[in-house]
């Protein structure tokens, strides 16, 4: 049974127990109507609609999607070709939401991308898919072939005069490829170091041409917005943020999973209602609300709505909206060490705070975990976090890496201190 399309627009066609809809089934369920509608609209009007809907990027940063599109040069003098890219790299540890959409309803992603490409008048689009999503790749390739066959992609789409090619690119690995300018370098066949900004990709991106990069979930929001309208979309959110969100939970909860819920659903409802609370014998200790690169939240935050502003006010970020739950039996220092090792390994090595700071943080955390740390190491870690903070590096990897460390030190400092041996007593003479 599929969900109510007006309540759960993202997962309306998704049923994990069967294959995703093929073109015929997707069309029968109202699919590609957004494209049909858009092709008769002025591109700028499409961008305006998306902007007014309040849709914010679901890749982690939460920038207004329509506003981002509006920076692309339009009109006959605009540089060409223009490019549209779907970021389907999904490598943020603890994040498994784009997979649900890619495997569950590939046509809806393709439809969203066609609408977006039309809005910026792109002639070429790429889906940058992470290597490990082999089932997604298979289903996506099948859906793409059907969309070409059905005349929704290729030359002169449905007689509109608008043409678009959509090409899947399978990544060769590395977390940094998810950063949009690093992704662009990877697509150009280069080492995936991020680029300095400005220029922003909207003006000079892939091969130096105007380029928009959006997340999978962001694109999947587009067809419902265009079909059902801005007012409907805004009314879905429980707080000031519009739409629905794929929330998730992993860790030692009773029912880990991914659920489409109204934007602004309280953390407690997700954790206790949908994820079923902690497993028998375990107590909740903290959670990373939106993937590995977000600050820990604790008990006192559980009644906050999971929206951009509330989570930010609590000192963290909504990020990808998929929470990683920490229980009272899991070693916090071990968890932070695991996260920091990941970021150190995935650093592209360009900026000193990231390359050296993360390596140093790993050494300090390892020493603490072995019981060989010193009290001043905790201050050193605090300092390293500031050193890696926003504004000191070319991309957001290092500031993101600092988030779980700095917040663990804030909320769980006693757990670190407990592992540090007391200063040896001065020997009596």
């Amino acid at each position: 049974m599929s969900a109510d399309p007006l309540k759960k627009p993202l997962t309306r066609n998704i049923d994990p127990t069967r294959e995703p809809f093929d073109l015929k089934q997707y069309e029968a369920a109202g699919g590609y109507q957004a494209v049909a509608k858009v092709l008769k609209m002025d591109p700028k009007e499409v961008t305006e609609t998306v902007k007014n809907s309040g849709l914010r990027g679901r890749g982690g940063a939460g920038f207004n999607t329509g506003l981002k599109w509006s920076f692309v040069p339009m009109g006959p003098d605009a540089p060409r070709p223009k490019y549209l890219i779907c970021n389907a790299d999904e490598m943020e540890p603890g994040t498994m939401k784009d997979r649900v959409l890619l495997e569950g309803d590939p046509h809806s992603l393709i439809e969203g991308m066609i609408c977006a490409a039309y809005a910026i008048q792109a002639e070429k689009a790429f889906i940058f898919l992470r290597w490990g999503y082999t089932l997604s790749e298979k289903r996506l390739r099948k859906a793409l072939a059907e969309a070409y066959e059905g005349g929704w992609l290729g030359k002169n789409i449905k007689g509109s005069g608008y043409s678009l090619d959509l090409i899947p690119h399978i990544s060769a690995g590395r977390y940094i490829c998810g950063e949009e300018t690093a992704l662009i370098n990877a697509l150009e066949g280069k080492r995936a170091n991020p680029r300095t900004k400005p220029p922003f990709p909207q003006v000079s991106g892939l091969f130096g041409k105007p380029t928009i990069v959006n997340n999978v979930e962001t694109f999947c929001n587009i067809p419902p917005i265009l079909t059902n309208g801005v007012e409907w979309y805004k009314s879905l959110g429980l707080t000031e943020d519009a739409g629905t969100k794929l929330y998730g939970a992993s860790g030692k909860v009773k029912r880990p999973g991914v659920w489409e819920l109204p934007m602004g659903t309280p953390i407690r409802e997700i954790l206790e209602g949908h994820a079923g609370g902690m497993r028998e014998g375990l107590r909740f200790k903290g959670l990373l609300p939106g993937g590995a690169s977000t600050d820990f939240l604790v008990e006192e935050h559980l009644d906050l709505p999971m929206d951009y502003a509330s989570i930010q006010k609590a000192g963290s970020r909504l990020g990808t909206g998929t929470m990683i739950v920490l229980d009272d039996q899991t070693c916090v220092v071990g968890m932070v060490l695991n996260l920091t090792q990941f970021f150190a390994q995935e650093s592209c090595g360009w900026c000193t705070p990231c390359r050296d700071g993360l390596a140093h943080a790993v050494k300090l955390l390892q020493a603490i975990k072995r019981g060989e740390g010193r009290m001043e190491d905790l201050n050193k870690l605090d300092q390293l976090c500031r050193f890696m903070g926003p504004g000191n590096t070319f991309c957001a990897l290092a500031p993101g890496a600092a988030e779980p460390i700095q917040s663990a030190l804030k909320y769980f400092r006693a757990d670190f201190e407990r592992l540090i041996p007391k200063q040896p007593m001065a020997q009596a003479v």
Binding site: G132, A172, G189, F207, S250
Partner: protein, 154 residues
Amino acid sequence: MLSPEERAEIEAEIHHYPRKEAACIEAMKVVQKHRGWVSDEGIRDVAEIMGMTPAEVDGIATFYNLIFRKPVGKHVVMACDSVSCWVMGYENVRECLRKKLGVEMGQTTPDGKFTVLPIACLGDCDHAPAMMVGEDLHHDLTAEKIDEVLKRYS
């Protein structure tokens, strides 16, 4: 030398991009698909068709962890060592693989059947711990399940 199939597949990729070199990573993936890994000869073959130097191609190859510059076994086992899997028992998975296959992370079994590697989050965190064997995902891993999964690959 590139086989005719390799050459045809690489040329189909080149066709998607305005600059030939952009297909360099795709070309290495094609070579890896056919030969299992990318040897120095593979690098030279890709360099030749791309009009690049082997050093340039190798510089790119070494950035990406899924371009194998060393030979790997028939099946590559990649166990997720990221945070959700770590919380849910990655260390047991690693121990289990070590016992069953008799090799450490990064090594290949003497019979050349399995190479075991750690891998970052597989996007299956709600079914942690997870691992891939070749192209297949296996999750909610326990010692028994790992045993049973490995038997399926010969």
